[in-house]
Subunit: 239 residues, 2 copies
DNA sequence: ACCTGAACACCGTTCAAGT
DNA sequence: ACCTGAACACCGTTCAAGT
C-alpha cells in the first residue's frame, strides 16, 4: 500500500552494508546477476552512490570475499598436523558451499586482500607450528593450491548450473546415450560405475567423497615427504 | 596507401576461420579483449556476420577450446601407466601455456564439447588399458581434476597479469614489506624461502617445479591405492 | 546463402551538479 | 559528506532487410 515513495529514513550506506547486500544478492541470484546497477536497486539507491563506499566493481568483489573468508573456522587446538589441516579445509569447504559464487570469484582475482592473506598466513602457520620446514611448507602450499579453500577444480561440474541444464543432464535421451557409447566408451564406463545404484547417468558422484579422496591422497603424499625429510635441493641454489 | 576500401575479394568466412581468428586474437591480446565486435573487426566483417558460423559467444568459446585441445600430443606407446599419464599431462600443460586464456575458459564452461570429451575419454583409457579398475579410475579422475589439463589452481598467480601489476609485485616498497612482516609473518617466511637466491620477493617460484611436485604427490598416492587394491566400497552400494 | 544496419537492453564508470 | 542525473563508451543479440 505504498503509493509514492514511502520515504522511510533509509539507513545511510556504509561499506559494510554494501558488501553484505552484495553477498546476499550473489547468494540468492548468482554472481552473473550482480551488477553495480542491480545492487544499487536492491539498496534503493542510484548506481553512483555505491562508488562512495567501494572503489569499483573489483573492489566490491574483493570486499565480498573478505566478508565470507571471515566465516571460516579458526584452526582447532591440536598438535597433529594432519587433522588440523583436514578440519580447516573442510570448514572452508562448508563456507564456499554456502556461497557458491565465491569459488569462481576466488579463481578470478589475484585476491591479495587482507582477509585472504590472513587466512593464508594462518594456514601456513598450521604447518610451521607443527614442525614442517619452511622449504617443504612452501612446496606443499603450492600443491594444495585451491584445496585450501575446500574446492578442487572439478571438470564437468557447473557451479552455477541452471535447473534446466541439470534436468537435461539427468535424463539423456536414448539416442544421445548411444552416440556417447560409440564415441566416448571410457567416459561412459566410468560414469556408469558411479551411478548403477541410482540409475541415472548424470550427477551420480558424491562430491564430498571425491573431495576427501583427493585431499587424503595429497595429505598422504605430504606426510610421506615430511617423514622422509624431503627438501627441494634445487640445483643452482647457491647461484 | 589504401584509401577507400581496398575491396580484395575477402575470403568467405567459415567456422574454422572464425575460430582460428578468435584463438589468435585471444593469444595476442587476452580473452578480455575478445568480443564479438572486436573479432568481427579483425575479420573485416560486421559483428552479425559471425552468427552464421557460431551460434553465440559461448559456442565461440567452446569452439576455440576444441581447436587447442587438438594440439595436445596423443599418449605415448608404453605399458607403464605412470609415465604415460605424466607425459600426457605435461603435453597438455605446454599447450595451455601457449594459450594462456584457455585455462580460464576451461574453468568457466561446463565444457562438454566433442574435443574435450575425446581428450577425457582418451585420458581415462590410459588408466583402464593399463589395468586400473573402473571404480578406482573414477575416483582418480576426480582427484586429478584440472591437472589433466596441466594446470593446478594456484592461488596468487594471475594468468592474465598486466605487466604493470607484475612490476608492482616484483618491487614492493619497504613500508609495504614492513607491514607484511608484521601482519603476515608466515606468508613472508615462505615467500622468502623460495627467493633468497634471486633477491626479489614476488615471482620467485618455478611454476614447472611446483606443478611437477604436486603431480608426483598425486601420482604416488594413486600408485599406492592401486597397489593396495583400493576400492571405494561405499556403504549402501546395494541400496 | 551469406552479409548488413539499425536497434534493444544491458554493462561499468566519468563528470558536474545538487543538498 | 553523501547522493543524484545525464552521458559515454562499451557489451551480446534480435530482427528485418539487402545482394
Amino acid at each position: 500500500m505504498d503509493h509514492g515513495t514511502r520515504a522511510e529514513p533509509r539507513e545511510r550506506l556504509s561499506r559494510d552494508t554494501v558488501l553484505r547486500a552484495a553477498v546476499a544478492l550473489a547468494d540468492e541470484y548468482g554472481i552473473a546477476r550482480l551488477s553495480m546497477r542491480s545492487l544499487a536497486e536492491v539498496l534503493g539507491v542510484v548506481p553512483m552512490a555505491l562508488y562512495k563506499h567501494v572503489a569499483n566493481k573489483d573492489d566490491l568483489l574483493d570486499g565480498m570475499l573478505d566478508v565470507i573468508v571471515g566465516e571460516i573456522d579458526p584452526p582447532v587446538e591440536e598438535r597433529e598436523w594432519r587433522d588440523v589441516i583436514r578440519r580447516r579445509v573442510l570448514s572452508a569447504r562448508r563456507v564456499l558451499r554456502r556461497h557458491r559464487w565465491a569459488r569462481r570469484v576466488l579463481e578470478t582475482r589475484t585476491a591479495m586482500t587482507p582477509g585472504v592473506l590472513a587466512y593464508t598466513d594462518s594456514f601456513i602457520g598450521m604447518f610451521l607450528e607443527r614442525g614442517f620446514p619452511v622449504d617443504l611448507t612452501h612446496h606443499v602450499m603450492h600443491a594444495i593450491g585451491s584445496r585450501m579453500w575446500g574446492f578442487t577444480q572439478e571438470l564437468f561440474d557447473d557451479p552455477e548450473a541452471d535447473p534446466a541444464q541439470a534436468a537435461a543432464d539427468a535424463v539423456p535421451d536414448q539416442a544421445a546415450l548411444q552416440q556417447m557409447a560409440m564415441r566416448y566408451p571410457n567416459v561412459l564406463r566410468v560414469a556408469m560405475a558411479s551411478t548403477h545404484d541410482d540409475g541415472v547417468v548424470g550427477r551420480g558422484c558424491d562430491d564430498q567423497f571425491e573431495f576427501e579422496f583427493a585431499l587424503d591422497l595429497l595429505l598422504d603424499g605430504i606426510g610421506d615427504r615430511h617423514a622422509r625429510g624431503w627438501t627441494s635441493a634445487r640445483p643452482g641454489a647457491d647461484r
